[in-house]
């Protein structure tokens, strides 16, 4: 991976709140155009990490680089290249969705030209004149995401972007994230939703008690924790779990020969099981 393609990196970053250490030697990097998922249970330090990366908090030690330079030297112009949707992002309730987007377009120095296209993409065109106070949570969340995207940021921080959304709205967000990724936007995503992380992210880091306990591509992580077994459902002998070795292969061949096999599949863990394995905790 070329050093110039790294948009964001942390190296040995530590942060404490009083006596409690919330981030302990955090090290990772995110490349241009990559969707990097940051997973972890509540209180693991996900939002704190985003706050460090977006100037809301200051680290105690370690190095953070943003667009190739130390975060301490990052300029306002660098932050104009960033879009942020936090778990507490909110729009003005007495204004319509469209007026809110126009406000943010003006703040970001962009024309209102892209608003129609964005509203269309998020399926909000019909509701553009609806006051935010009359919108459902899903509509608010999608509108807030559009506000974060209004200036076509190069780097997008998304903190639980689909939290509280119905499956259809979640699918809209996932489709949009896929489009953004295809267009070269770098995405830093925190989520509780393992299926979302699996389908959207190119790479993942699993955070537990302020430390990264694993980091890799979703498939590699799952394979790393593969159980090396095959499940065979038979006609008369019930469900059999056999290991992936030569002896089991012979056993399975015999089952096929005697027409006993109803179904057969490997038993790979999903991300949630990988997470539980690594942290010993539930979300």
């Amino acid at each position: 991976m070329a050093a110039t393609s790294i948009v964001l990196s942390m190296e040995g970053v530590c942060l404490s709140f009083g006596a409690k250490r919330v981030l302990d030697g955090l090290t990772f990097s995110v490349s241009r155009g990559e969707c990097f998922g940051f997973l972890g249970p509540s209180g693991a330090g996900k939002t704190t990490t985003i706050k460090l990366l977006t100037r809301q908090l200051k680290k105690d030690s370690g190095r953070i680089n943003l667009f190739g330079r130390p975060i301490e030297n990052a300029s306002d112009a660098d932050y104009e290249r960033i879009g942020i949707l936090s778990d507490t992002s909110a729009l003005y309730e007495r204004m319509s969705i469209e007026d809110n987007l126009k406000l943010y377009a003006k703040i970001r120095g962009k024309g209102a030209g892209d608003i129609d296209r964005l509203l269309e993409r998020m399926n909000l065109s019909q509701d553009r004149k609806t006051l935010v106070k009359n919108c459902s949570k899903g509509m608010r969340q999608r509108a807030a995401l559009l506000a974060a995207l209004i200036h076509s940021p190069e780097l997008l921080f998304l903190d639980e972007p689909t939290s509280g959304l119905d499956p259809a709205a979640r699918a809209e967000v996932h489709r949009m994230l896929a489009e953004l990724k295809a267009a070269g936007t770098t995405i830093f995503l925190t989520t509780h939703d393992m299926a979302e992380a699996d389908s959207v992210c190119d790479r993942l880091a699993i955070l537990d008690e302020g430390r990264i306990v694993a980091s890799d591509e979703p498939e590699s992580l799952k394979l790393r924790f593969a159980r090396n077994r095959v499940v065979v459902v038979t006609r008369s002998r019930g469900t059999l779990e056999v290991t992936k070795d030569a002896a089991s292969a012979e056993e399975i061949r015999e089952l096929f020969a005697s027409d006993e096999v109803l179904s057969i599949h490997s038993d790979e863990p999903n991300l949630e099981e990988v997470f539980l394995e690594l942290t010993g905790r539930e979300f």
Binding site: T54, Q56, D76, Y79, E80, I82, I84, S86, T88, S89, A90, L91, Y92, E93, R94, M95, L103, Y104, K106, I107, R108, G109, A144, A147, A148
Partner: protein
């Protein structure tokens, strides 16, 4: 600089439009006008029932005018400036729109400037309406509005500090009471000598006295020096408190 001005301008436009959409702000802006209408009615009724002579009436007029226009200034500054700034910031904090703005790379200073300018515009507009409701003489309007702007400055500065310190609108309600009381004290000076003495030195005391001098037509530098100094001291005090606490409050909250 251009980006800062663009952002401040966008926030200013948003805050001005919101002033007309926000029921709380509308009521706050209408209150001084309603009070002045009530006072005009009450004082007009009282003087006509008192059976005083035309000479006595002529002698009383400047005192009544000072009370009416001075009270109008105190009420407008106290209610409009305090509430638009304090409640404005508190609502943004409570509804988390302030945080969203700051995550969109908007500086706290840009938000503060927009809120302050809106408070000045609103108080000047309300002051102008109150002036005519209170029966002010049109030639006096310029002086009256200038004193309104001058008196608004310290109150806006203190309200900004309190706005940044408060958590939500309920806290804003509590914090606004002492500011409101301090700004209203000078208008009760006529009813009590001790209040009058204290009133001269409060944030709106200086402009209340200057208004009286303007009405009597004897605003010379020597007499105006103390009320001007009182106002200047409050503006400087507000600016010092604001500059000391702004960074910390903006960061912590």
């Amino acid at each position: 600089m251009n980006a800062a001005m663009r952002k401040t301008g966008a926030l200013l436009a948003k805050d001005i439009v919101d002033l007309f959409k926000n029921p709380t702000m509308l009521v706050v802006c209408l209150m001084p006008v309603a009070f002045m209408a009530l006072y005009t009615f009450m004082i007009g009724d009282a003087t006509s029932d008192a059976g005083i002579t035309a000479e006595q009436q002529a002698a009383a007029n400047p005192i009544i005018d000072q009370f009416m226009l001075g009270s109008s200034l105190c009420m407008t500054i106290g209610m409009v400036c305090t509430m638009t700034v304090l409640y404005g910031i508190a609502e943004e904090k409570e509804k988390r729109t302030l945080r969203t703005l700051m995550l969109a790379n908007v500086g706290a200073s840009q938000i503060v400037v927009a809120k302050s300018v809106v408070a000045l515009i609103a108080s000047t507009a309300v002051n102008a309406i109150c002036f005519f409701v209170a029966g002010g003489e049109p030639p006096m309007l310029g002086t009256y509005l200038a004193l309104g702007v001058l008196g608004s400055l310290p109150i806006i500065l203190f309200s900004l500090v309190l706005g940044l310190a408060c958590r939500d609108q309920m806290t804003a309600g509590v914090y606004s009471v002492p500011v409101l009381l301090l700004t209203l004290v000078p208008m009760f000076g006529m009813s009590n000598e001790s209040i009058e003495k204290v009133g001269h030195y409060l944030p709106t005391g200086g402009i209340y006295d200057l208004m009286g001098m303007a009405i009597e037509g004897n605003m010379n530098l020597q007499d105006a020096l103390i009320p001007l100094a009182v106002t200047a001291v409050w503006i400087v005090a507000g600016a010092v408190v604001f500059s000391l606490l702004f960074k910390r409050l903006a960061r912590d909250n």
